[in-house]
């Protein structure tokens, strides 16, 4: 237990930052938006191998029907989020940048858009392997942002033993409230999902970590806890990046995931509340993941809120529905700390998208963009939750000393949380430097 815990009494980790949270949409219940005319479904919405299309141009699909199958174990299938006709498989913009192959569906205007394709089953009868297969069939990936296939995460490698399931309800990114709403509105689904996951991983205890700015969610979850105490709810300090799995494990279990290691190395599996709530709902129904809750917020949004949208909805459609303003705008998929900006309004919402943030002129102008030299103020050093030295890393990156960065200064332990850039008074784009450095190192190694 760190010294810090003794003082605050709250569970937390060392370093990190306290950005303004702007969680204004926390009291906005989840709403549906009208369906768009067209859905764009990139085949690589998840980490791993892209899915293989099962549909042809012109083919009709119904809501919920699988339209692409998993390419082996390291992949997940894709389901049609709406009833309509396949327009084709085309190159479309994605949040990642380069255009890539996507199934484009023209949505039928008149359809009721009911889920017409499902294979309900009794979960308690499934063997663990069957359960894992069932999870893969849902197409579920981590909804916390990484979009890592859930069935893989819940498959524990043979050489590891896992004793605890940690459920990540921190939602430490400013603005975002979708996880918060899911905890408030679907506690039963969540509990169900947790039980499935515990069964799949063979763990005996589960801890839901929730930041202490969401005490209402903590209350509700406590009310729904099953008897026996196998599942616990822990409130942790509101601090960015509390939601990062390494930090959360440190906070609730005081275990440190080794550098370069996985949570499983310390006997833990971490899942996002949205992911498990989704599994809790989808698995017994035998449905696929076709929609998700996103927070639409930011100073440029007229009607901010939490919306349930079909996957593949272009952000243009959402923005037209909720209204946005500004002549120079920044569109961010996810939270302001880690979310990527998008360069085209045709970019679709994918499985990993947890929010759509719109910043317009005033919030853009607030920042001064001039990049000064590093004045070695050490603020970044004091902010980095991984205890790296972003100051020297940044200076080395500017000189393209990428290999030395990795060898001597643990570049690869940086998980790009952005704390360093956030605090840097010199406005040095540290995270961006580190991304480049890592990318180049990866290429060199390949």
């Amino acid at each position: 237990m760190g010294l810090f815990d003794l003082f605050s009494g709250l569970k937390t980790f060392a370093h990190g930052i306290h950005p303004p949270y702007h969680k204004d949409t926390a009291d906005k219940p989840i709403r549906r938006l009208p369906f768009p005319a067209q859905l764009v479904l990139p085949l690589d919405q998840h980490i791993g191998k892209p899915a293989i299309p099962l549909v042809k141009k012109g083919q009709e699909v119904v809501r919920g029907e699988p339209i692409a199958k998993a390419d082996g174990a390291f992949s997940v299938p894709l389901h049609a989020p709406a009833t309509g006709r396949v327009r084709g498989i085309e190159l479309m913009p994605t949040p990642k940048g380069p255009k890539s192959d996507a199934i484009v569906i023209d949505v039928y205007d008149g359809s009721t858009q009911e889920v017409l394709w499902k294979q309900p089953r009794e979960m308690s009868e499934l063997s663990p392997t069957e359960a894992i297969q069932a999870i893969q069939d849902t197409g579920m990936v981590g909804l916390g942002g990484a979009a890592f296939p859930s069935h893989l995460k819940l498959t524990i490698p043979e050489d590891k033993t896992v004793d605890t399931l940690v459920i990540n309800g921190c939602e430490c990114e400013p603005y975002l409230t979708c996880d918060h709403r899911v905890m408030l509105e679907h506690p039963q689904a969540l509990m169900r999902g947790i039980r499935y996951a515990m069964r799949a991983t063979g763990t005996s205890q589960a801890i839901i970590g929730v930041e202490d700015n969401k005490m209402d969610a903590v209350e509700i979850l406590r009310d729904h806890l099953p008897k026996g105490g196998s599942i616990k709810v822990e409130s942790v300090e509101t601090k960015y990046p509390q939601g990062s799995e390494k930090m959360l494990i440190k906070s609730v279990l005081n275990r440190e995931v080794p550098a370069g290691g996985l949570p499983a190395d310390v006997g833990v599996v971490v899942n996002n509340v949205g992911t498990l709530a989704g599994l809790g709902r989808l698995l017994p129904e035998g449905e696929g993941l076709i929609e998700r809750v996103i927070t639409v917020a930011g100073p440029g949004i007229v009607k901010p809120g939490n919306y349930l949208v079909p996957l593949g909805t272009p952000i243009r459609h959402i923005l037209e529905q909720v209204g946005y303003e500004g002549s120079r705008t920044e569109f961010i998929l996810g939270g302001p700390m880690m979310g990527p900006a998008v360069s085209a309004m045709d970019t679709p919402i994918t499985k990993g998208t947890s929010g759509l943030l719109v910043l317009n002129e005033p919030s853009i102008e607030e920042e001064s963009h001039k990049i000064w030299p590093c004045i070695r103020c050490a603020r970044c050093v004091k902010a980095c939750p991984m205890h790296l030295n972003p100051s020297i890393l940044g200076q080395m990156a500017a000189k393209r000393k990428y290999e030395e960065m990795a060898e001597d200064y643990h570049l690869n332990d940086c998980f790009e949380c952005g704390c360093c850039s956030y605090v840097c008074p010199s406005n040095i784009p540290l995270v961006q430097y580190f991304r480049i450095a890592k990318a180049i190192n990866r290429e060199q190694a390949a």
Binding site: P373, I392, Q395, M396, A398, K399, K401
Partner: protein, 192 residues
């Protein structure tokens, strides 16, 4: 004047630092201070050679004085020191080729480094006895290491800075040497 051992040591390390106050051993100081991981071995090697030369000089001086041929001192010193160092060099090449490689051409430089000969001559001028000479050599060595390591640290830092094109290279090393020397002036008179 008999000087206490601690005075001899501190004086050689700080106040009369061989590099920064006496201007001895500048070539390796400027040449091998670019990287910490070569500067430190270089410093250690120099200190070692200083010890070797201090002992050899002390012994050979006894011979010179006995035969009253002090006028041969310079030749005798340098020849003995050079041979001793060459021996060390050969041994190093044999025993640790890696270390030998990293010091590259600078090993021969140590042989004929002014600091080494200067040490031998100064200890004779100051009429140090054997222990005093040894302490003096260690002090001079430590002072050299201190200077070269500080310099290397600074130069590594500068490597990350955006210097104007004309100051890149030797000029900035010299200026840094000057600034270090300015800083070491604070030690002047230490112990006096």
């Amino acid at each position: 004047m008999t000087e206490s051992l601690s005075f001899i040591f501190l004086n050689a390390v700080l106040a009369n630092n061989f590099v920064l106050a006496l201007f001895l051993g500048l070539c390796p100081f400027l040449g091998v201070s670019g990287k910490l991981n070569t500067a430190l071995p270089m410093g250690l090697a120099t200190m070692f050679v200083m010890l070797v030369s201090s002992v050899s000089a002390y012994l050979i001086n006894i011979v010179l004085v006995t035969f009253e041929i002090e006028f041969l001192r310079l030749i005798a010193y340098i020849a003995v020191i050079a041979s001793a160092v060459q021996l060390v060099e050969m041994a190093l090449k044999k025993l640790s080729p890696a270390l030998f490689r990293s010091l590259g051409i600078f090993l021969p430089l140590i042989t004929t480094n002014c600091a080494i000969l200067g040490l031998a001559l100064f200890q004779t001028f100051k009429e140090y006895n054997f222990t005093q000479s040894l302490v003096y050599a260690i002090g001079a060595g430590v002072g050299f290491i201190l200077a070269i390591v500080l310099m290397a640290g600074l130069r590594e830092k500068l490597e990350l800075s955006t210097m104007p094109s004309i100051t890149q290279g030797a000029a900035v090393s010299l200026m840094l040497g000057g600034l270090l020397s300015l800083s070491f002036m604070g030690f002047a008179g230490l112990g006096g």
